[in-house]
Symmetry: D2
């Protein structure tokens, strides 16, 4: 099975650095989302595309492990990798690394489900458009 992944440079904002002089832990969820959006653009799985198909895909769980801090001025990379599930879910894994040294700074994962946007109904079966998406990228 092919590995679908994408990398983005993280834009560490001054306002994201806390009084301990490191990026506040909650902001990593924005970096994960930056990566998820870049993944969506690369593989045709963005919010707007899924919305056009009639679905929204809320996050139902998210996890982050912090290995080493990020400081203002650091250059870092967020990497996202699709992890296939048989269920009607989108599972992603994340890595934050130092852009220069390659050192691992954080890891994480998230799970999204499919909601019918008209009826707000949870989809227990994989939506047709997502099955096609998997097929297109050689996943099954």
């Amino acid at each position: 099975m092919p590995i679908l992944s994408e990398k983005v440079a993280i834009n560490i904002r001054f306002s994201e650095v806390d009084s301990l002089l490191i990026v506040w832990h909650g902001h990593y969820l924005k970096y994960f989302e930056d990566a998820r959006e870049a993944f969506g653009r690369k593989y045709g799985l963005g919010y707007l595309e899924m919305y056009a198909q009639g679905f929204v895909t809320p996050i139902v769980n998210i996890h982050c492990e912090y290995k080493a801090p990020l400081a203002y001025g650091d250059e870092a990379i967020a990497e996202i990798t699709y992890r296939d599930s048989k269920a009607a879910k989108i599972e992603m894994e994340y890595k934050i690394t130092n852009a220069r040294t390659g050192a691992l700074l954080a890891t994480g994962y998230s799970t999204q489900v499919f909601l019918d946007r008209a009826k707000s109904e949870l989809q227990l079966i994989i939506p047709a458009f997502f099955a096609e998406w998997k097929e297109k990228w050689g996943i099954e």
Copy 2:
């Protein structure tokens, strides 16, 4: 003309304090909004109420003057005062003060306009519901 105003205690979050150990300037706009929402609840001029009337009221300008910093652990108050305008606008003034000493920490103002939510049209004439709201509170 009566003075319409409201005060709220500011909830300074750890994540809002930057690497200079003071609240990052941009967060004050959240405190202004906390005050605006409290004003809306007190005087019946909240987002949801205006939305129910068919209008959204986007901010078209905002200004903040910073007099003295806020630190983590500080107790502060955001005060909002309605400033009447003859135009189809909502104008507000803000003050942030130290809850214990009363010292003035910041001032500001904002202007909102009325958009017809169905047609996204700017309202040049004061909407009827807002004229009634003014009358109810003895303005003019």
Copy 3:
């Protein structure tokens, strides 16, 4: 062993609601922190107190499960419960509930470690002040 816990009312800001009309998932980490800070105030375990003891306690992992969404105007409660660990760690569990119905909206947990603030050294042994804190509250 006594259960140490605290509850806080969540202040859902307009700016925290996303384009799907629900609170953006990442903001829950702020609500968890609101709860953690309230816990710190109640039990004498705040950032500033630990800092005064010579320690900082960065988050090393955090997790959130989303059960039902939060909307603008909702009233919700964040509850935090201390979960004792034999290791030199602070472990917390979180629950977000609907303030009116009591319905469970989200759960989560976090782990913090102790760093010597002067030397940035990870503390493998429970700091003396934290052992005393446990004793004071009847843990163990």
Copy 4:
């Protein structure tokens, strides 16, 4: 006098779009800061450089005028221009434009002062390093 300016592409995050489907007004201050940081990198006037010179430069006022909204998926540019002042201040002007059409979406300005980082004293006279900076870039 030469015009010192810089442009950056704005990274509009999903989490920055509010329930009215437009970027929440307060986030523009982050975009202004993105521009200010890019300016700092281009012209050698970054936070870290000024800090190394012994100064911090807090924002003492900021203003934003909103002309047209930003939506998720929009491509926009933040442009910053240095506006010289005889006083011991850093004054900046900002413009947000649509990257494709060039349409003006917002304007703004900010003022920063110099604080001696050791003594937290406001500098009434232009610091030597800033006078040199001006000379280097041909400003008077």
